[in-house]
Symmetry: D2
Subunit: 333 residues, 4 copies
């Protein structure tokens, strides 16, 4: 709901840019009319696979590619068409979604020897749902623009479960006139699609949210642990925080202390959820981004270090709320 | 509401302790019956003054003391009675509330040469609303107990405005059977009175909440600042955070970025609100408490240092959300 | 040498105070003349035991006490005399050295029910070699002064080995005229005896040194670890640092990387040396001291948290240079 | 001296690679024989200008380039030859030194439209003395190698004064057989030339040293400030640290407290020396490098944030030891 309300203001902006972007809008329209033409999907990993399958469910013919043959095979068996390279995908589809693990993979898939840009059609819409450095998104966008196509960054929040259920949140950056075209596809895979601004702002929004999430999760773990050692009952302390100014998503929706809430990773030995290694990766992006923009992020920076240490201490695959367990261990002489 | 619900379970506990505590309960009852007998109040500062006046408004005869004669004078002019020392207050009243700036003051007022304990009556109920080290609360409680009286710690959340309006939140630690007696008085000054557990847990709850508050406030400031530098509109970013896992009280109720919300200190040049120097004090208590219990609090510790540096850089009297301003300043060569 | 040079300026100060302190100086002289009269020693732990034995070796009759009977027994077997309480020690000796684990122990030994002050003789010289909060040292000093005796704080640097070998370093705080009297005893146990200033400055010097030590040790571990991961040979990197501005005691004398130096704990699986739990204790003192004086110590504070986490992760009894091992562990998915 | 000793082991390695690298060694020899042939120099800023002039002083004909015409003009007036682009420099000289402010500049100068690689001669020796991300050094090295030339990274330590005096320290990474050829030139500008290992290790050594330097400088400032507030005389405290385990270059050679030492920036209102903004830049590189190699650097990371905040608070152009001033400011209510 909030997401919908937030997007109202756009209509006027659209108008303002109309003349300048006339040609580009025309291309968008032709794409929109042919909405069940093939959609490309590159990157069939834990997230990409269920996302692509949701496109298929919504009636889109999907032409796909993954660097791992097994990932392609599994997807092909489910009835979709698999290509030999990103370039080949771009030859067949003028709307392509990419879902890749990191910046160098994204650069390779777009600008590599057999990359999308080798055979991309003019007017194509290329949407990257990877979580990468927004500076890299901007560079890719420039290269895409030179080929007469359109690039948007649209990283997701929500994990594998949300990918399967089709209720991811997409944070989208790019030319606003293209947002509707992107939204048409993204709503097949997510329940919230939020327009954030120019290229890179989708990444920026995700990185900022996850940095604050990491900080408040560690803060919640510290506060709960300290309170428990000072004699407070954990459930009572959680209730007090949640009716006070310490309240946050990590305390009221995803409490890291076993026994306080049900249905969260802390109730299940920190299995499932959002892995510590993924949080460490996102915090690394926040760090690099902050370094490059000379922005001080003292707590974000320390949160990064803590999740990095946790990875090295065996918590890499546990949910990131396991920081409570990491901090609570007692000294045993 | 939540606060009320949370306190239900107490009845049975009360029963369980009944025999053991018969004498003490009897004393409580005699106090309760004589509810409009004088109430002592020691510490008539920015917070104590309006609190004591709310007791007067509710019909309690107040006998008061403050170390500063002007504070006494002002209070006397409003019709209350002023004593020469804490001991004299204790001679006149068997229910006393103390509201003092720091641990050493509290120790002095209770155990000093003219302290409460010099003339305290057996069975008196002594409630300390100062924010101090819970270990000091426990020591005072022991000394009080030796004199046959009862001590509870009941620090508040909410500032001068809430003190005037009588809607503070009290977090109360001490013997549970005495909680009702304490609540009778505290509800004259606050809208939430929460029982937290044994002596010291009121302090513990407050310290933990404020530590988490400081962490999530700085985190919000960092995330908003980074997002703005990456090209995001501040209002839009706040909306995204507030519908996502980064949501916290500091982002959705007390946003530190000017222009995002109305009616908060960031909309008023960070005036009013909760001063940076007070936050630094509470974080210092968290730090000492964590050190003494060997509890790791890496982010709480860094938050303390940041608020300490802010105090030295001229932010002492600004609201603690001014950390956004502190962090956003640009490098000018 | 440096230590000796540093103490020159004292003569004039001595003169300046002469009249005021005439009585006290007279007492010192009578103590000095009777230098082989009994010396009290309280606290016969890992450090205290060898220190007391060095006094015996130098011909001083030692009357001792420890709260653990076994510690007393062992010491008695070596020919010394053991008392039943600190008070009894004070009855027999007018020069007493205390070596205790923490602030509360020191308070108890001096001011407790059977504490030194119960039977201390006027003019006695009481030297506390424990590492405690300088604020506590000052409080004890006041209580001692009230009894007409003299108190000095004289914490040590150097571990059990240095205690046995008699080459500890003592950092001494207290009235300067008493320094020579203290030095007479301390030189039996240490090779460096440094006068630091008024009471509490011995503790201050030790705390500041150890805080800087912890910071530069962790910094060395981080820099070495980063360099190794970037392809540098550890010995070569250590050499470069040691001829450059990164040089520090932790890099050139006590390098934390196995294989870089011989004869240090890192060459022996981090056994021996200065335990992580002791470093964490000293950093806790630095933290409390900094908090109480409103001094920002961001790196000192984080160093404290890191050593606290190491304690909880099984490093409590390893040498504090094991932070290299703690940080270098690799992520294993 | 240490630097010299450290390089002994190389002879055998040289032998081992002899056959493989025969051609390349031949080229080196021809270069070495013609040692007074022109040397290229690109980047005539505060550091590059005096470095290039030292080459001229040693009899090398220098052909130079800088992106700023004024910098070229000034250099030309001193008798050297100036080219129109890096490519033109490469056409004239088969040994080129580059000294540039950051990674993007280095990439542009080597691989840009008029970059060195457009006209580089086979067998040329290209030495980059910029301080940049070692990963970028490796990428440039690959591009250089493809053109049949040799690349070495050789960042410097020592500031403008050392550049003028010709006593910089160079930390060199690259193929070991080329080290002698590089050293021939670098010794004209520096007194220490240290071989660190393969390409990128020069950068790595510099980054690690400066990270440790920043950490121990802040640590020294914190320890000195805390000690002073606890009543210690700054000179005495410095002496104690310097004879103890807290000793480091920042405490014994470059003490940040005014009045402790002469001839250092702290004695001159923190003017001259190594600017805070440069330290922040190097710490940013350390941060990016650590993030990319998943290396935990908690103190390095916090040091980065502190220098970043200092830049925003008006310390950008002061010497980095001004962190003492930044931390010592007192709270004024």
């Amino acid at each position: 709901m909030a997401a919908v309300l937030m997007l109202r203001g756009s209509a006027r902006l659209l108008y303002k840019h109309r003349k300048v972007r006339a040609a580009s809008i025309a291309m968008v329209c032709s794409r929109a009319m042919a909405s069940k033409t093939p959609v490309g999907f590159i990157g069939l990993g834990n997230m990409g696979n269920p996302m692509a399958k949701n496109l298929v469910k919504h009636g889109y013919p999907v032409v796909a590619y993954d660097v791992f043959p097994e990932a392609c095979k599994e997807f092909q068996d489910s009835g979709a068409q698999v290509m030999d390279s990103p370039a080949d995908v771009a030859e067949r589809a003028d709307r392509i979604i990419t879902m890749l693990p990191s910046s160098p993979n994204a650069v390779e898939v777009y600008t590599g020897a057999n990359g999308i840009l080798k055979k991309v059609k003019k007017g194509s819409l290329l949407i990257d749902s990877s979580t990468i450095d927004p500076a890299v998104s901007k560079e890719i966008a420039k290269a895409v623009e030179k080929m007469g196509a359109v690039f948007m960054d649209a990283p997701v929040s929500g994990g594998v479960g949300a990918a399967r259920a089709g209720n991811l949140t997409f944070m989208v950056g790019g030319v606003e006139q293209e947002f509707d075209a992107a939204k048409e596809l993204l709503t097949c895979m997510g329940s919230n699609v939020i327009y954030c601004g120019e290229v890179g702002t989708g990444q920026a929004a995700k990185i900022c949210n996850n940095m604050l999430l990491a900080i408040s999760m560690i803060g919640t773990a510290e506060a709960m642990n300290l309170g428990i050692r000072l004699g407070l009952d954990p459930k009572l302390l959680a209730k007090i925080l949640n009716m006070s100014s310490g309240r946050c998503w990590s305390s009221d929706t995803y409490n890291p202390v076993p026994g306080v809430m049900e249905g969260v990773p802390s109730a299940n030995n920190y299995q499932g959820g959002f892995g510590t290694t993924l949080m460490a990766k996102d915090l690394g992006l926040a760090q690099i981004t902050a370094t490059n923009t000379k922005t001080p992020v003292p707590l974000g920076s320390l949160a990064h270090q803590i999740y990095r240490m946790m990875c090295a201490k065996g918590y890499a695959l546990k949910d990131f709320s396991a920081v409570f367990q990491f901090l609570r261990e007692e000294e045993n002489l």
